[in-house]
Symmetry: C2
Subunit: 194 residues, 2 copies
DNA sequence: GCCAGGCTAGGACGAATGTCCTAGTGTGCC
DNA sequence: GGCACACTAGGACATTCGTCCTAGCCTGGC
């Protein structure tokens, strides 16, 4: 892995664990094991690193969503796969929260130009989830449902991070899965009644 | 209002709008209109201000919850009163997110000693909500429901902040209100069936 | 074998940070 | 009137920040 990739990788991790603002050039350089001078050769400003990190997150998210789509033919299973990330990543979420939500909020508070760029990760999830609901037969409602599932995950992340409670995460996942089943059942029955 | 109160007030606002770490002593002093030297007379360290701000938030939250409790005799109305804050404060939430969630997460990332103190505000809401559900006849489930409502508000705040979408907030509030009604109806009917 | 150029190291720069000190002002009590 | 003390102003301090410069290394092409 080249130096540039190592820098982006370390910055990605540190931005998540410590936040963007509190993470210094020196901290990233030290994490990679290079000098600050070398650092400057690859990235001229801190904002450049941020953009590269966001770009990397966009790319890895796109890749993940494609894999999820390939992993199951059932759109409902795909949505459930998304829901599960709060369980899969519960350790990190308890320690640092959701990588997407916490970064976008920090950039919002900093009034940072790259805020909109960071929101792009949310948009990927939103669009992907909407497509799943569309595949399940929803039209105008699909985006609303996508946003609800997204909001669910953000709520879990925030409280899991605050209370360090894994049981709560499992309970809420069970709740949303029940909701998904019911929601789909009422939709298909309404569809059949047409 | 004394100087100390003005400092806490300005710090409270700036910590919310800019975050704790990026807000400097100088910025707070300038907002109040005093010198940094004067500042030091009232607060020796930045952590002291943070503690005072958290203390102020705890106090104002307690006061608000008592007022809500006094404002309505119906526990369900009280819960709805809580749910409404995402509408009442939607402007600030769109710009800066939830004051409680964003601070606790920032302190978590900073591994700050006051993190647990800040979580206290969440605990106030959680306890208060649990009591409302207990008044509605729930026992062991009351805390779970309280956490769900809390998670709902956090999810809304995160996405409202990311997408700047007021309509989404209204839709989700309608959704949770429907859920509350149904949840209560199924509970009382089950209760009557005992 | 050597030379060009991608890459690296280490330090310098001004600005800003949290912290601290000291001199001074005002007001209330004797 | 004078003294004590709560309060204020302004600057000094070391450190760290993002940024930038320059000197050197190392490898590939001729």
């Amino acid at each position: 892995m080249g130096t540039r990739e190592q820098i982006v990788d370390a910055a990605n991790r540190l931005f998540y664990q410590q936040g963007f603002e509190p993470t210094s050039f020196a901290a990233i350089a030290e994490a990679v094991g290079i000098s600050r001078g070398n650092f400057y050769y690859h990235f001229k400003t801190k904002d450049e690193i941020l953009q590269a990190v966001i770009e990397a997150r966009l790319a890895s998210t796109r890749k993940m969503l494609v894999e999820w789509a390939d992993g199951s033919a059932d759109p409902l299973d795909r949505v459930r796969r998304f829901v599960e990330i709060v369980i899969t990543n519960r350790g990190d979420i308890e320690s640092y929260g959701c990588p997407v939500g916490t970064l976008t909020n920090e950039l919002a508070k900093l009034d940072h130009p790259s805020r909109a760029h960071a929101v792009g990760v949310f948009e990927l999830f939103r669009t992907w989830l909407r497509e799943q609901f569309e595949d399940l037969g929803f039209d105008a409602e699909a985006d609303d449902l996508a946003m609800h599932v997204l909001a669910f995950s953000q709520g879990i992340a925030a409280l899991s991070n605050a209370f360090h409670d894994s049981d709560f995460v499992y309970r809420e996942v069970a709740r949303i899965n029940t909701w998904l089943t019911e929601r789909l059942a009422s939709h298909t029955s309404a569809d059949g009644a047409r």
